[in-house]
């Protein structure tokens, strides 16, 4: 059972998806549903014995192209709609072990192409207004299957955080005629104190307004609205800086850093969005090797994040992590 319920106070949708309570939860070794089906073994999601990348529709989707009718009636106070959209799983490798960090740059470059294809293919659908590519990594984030994978939620509407981001972009554009993200990139390069890594076409930094201690953002130096705007060389360079940031995370405390990785880019609603600028945001939940940053009362109840650290200091820590050859 799945539906969208409107919160008339915050003016945002909440998706109910009760069937997700029964989804696979930390399966024992040898019973990973994302590994290729072994000869004589139990059928997994992937029949082929090996693969470069696989994308498939989530078995337990929050959003569907043919959603069921809502279980409750819509009213003037509480509008309800079918949870229209697409939920996909992106498998990075047929190997069960490892993480995104372990992929060599050429393979990351291929993954960028897969992400781009999903952005273009899903975004071309008339129902889809926003293609949201993300990865949850580590049990600290609530990951239920360890096989290296990411996810894509293709929304039929603009999610609230994206809507708010676009409002900020449009306000800045109306005032200055410039992309706010381009101005941020320029300022970060000028300041320098929050930079974590630089490449020919991209920079990585902890933003001035970071909510999480080790919140790194990756931006293209040039104005690029979405993955669809990158040249092949830029895709390679994105793979390089992504690899560098991932290795810095794992090198910081010498263990695999849990994180949420999300991509923000131009909506696919065919509206003019001069302020959209592709970027990747990482939200690692750890503030020390053993302590989590909880979204507690102030963050959850008031919406104000309290960051116990200074972005400039945390950026210096990550910048100092040597990663060796990519």
């Amino acid at each position: 059972m799945s539906e969208k319920r409107w919160n008339p106070i915050l003016c945002e949708w909440v998706v109910t998806a009760t069937h997700r309570q029964d989804r696979t939860f930390l399966p024992p070794a040898g019973y990973c549903p994302l590994c290729p089906t072994a000869p004589g073994g139990f059928p997994t999601e992937v029949p082929e014995p090996s693969y470069d990348f696989v994308v498939f529709e989530n078995k337990f989707p929050s959003l569907k192209l043919d959603p069921s009718e809502p279980a409750v009636e819509s009213s003037a106070l509480y509008p309800v709609q079918p949870s229209l959209g697409v939920c996909e799983v992106v498998l990075y490798s047929s190997e069960h072990g490892g993480t995104l960090t372990d992929l060599p740059v050429p393979k990351l470059h291929q993954l960028v192409k897969v992400w781009r294809d999903r952005y273009e293919s899903l975004g071309a659908r008339p129902e889809i207004d926003y293609v949201f590519i993300f990865e949850n990594k580590g049990e600290a984030i609530g990951v239920t299957i360890h096989h290296p994978h990411g996810q894509i939620y293709a929304f039929s509407y603009l999610p609230p955080k994206i809507e708010r981001e676009i409002a900020g972009e449009e306000k800045h554009y109306a005032q200055t005629g410039r992309c706010i993200h381009c101005d941020i990139v320029e300022d970060e390069l000028k300041q320098g104190s929050r930079l974590v890594a630089e490449s020919r076409d991209f920079i990585a930094f902890i933003p001035f307004y970071a909510r999480y201690p080790y919140e790194v953002h990756i931006y293209s130096r040039s104005h690029r609205a979405s993955l669809a705007d990158f040249s092949d060389d830029e895709e390679v360079d994105l793979a390089c800086i992504l690899s560098e940031v991932l290795k810095k995370y794992d090198g910081l405390w010498n263990f695999s850093m849990p994180y949420m990785m999300v991509m923000h880019q131009k909506p696919t609603d065919n509206k003019s969005r001069p302020g959209s600028h592709f970027h990747i945001e990482f939200y690692p939940p750890l503030r020390t090797p053993s302590r989590l940053k909880y979204l507690a009362g102030c963050e959850s109840g008031a919406g104000t994040f309290v960051n116990d650290t200074l972005p400039e200091e945390k950026a210096a820590e990550l910048k100092a992590v040597a990663v060796g050859a990519l």
């Binding site: 693969y51 470069d52 990348f53 994308v55 529709e57 291929q110 192409k113």
Partner: protein, 54 residues
Amino acid sequence: MVKREERMPDGRLLIYYTFVGGREVTASDTVPGNASASSSLPTDTTDKKTKESK
């Protein structure tokens, strides 16, 4: 890059992405194990047309 689209027994979309030898594979390349290529789902151009007129 070559995409091969299939349907799972329960109707869900499953896509294999194949790359070969550090360069992109073109559609004219032979893809090992791609016996079902002829049954690949066609690209849905109808959706794009609808989208453009949205």
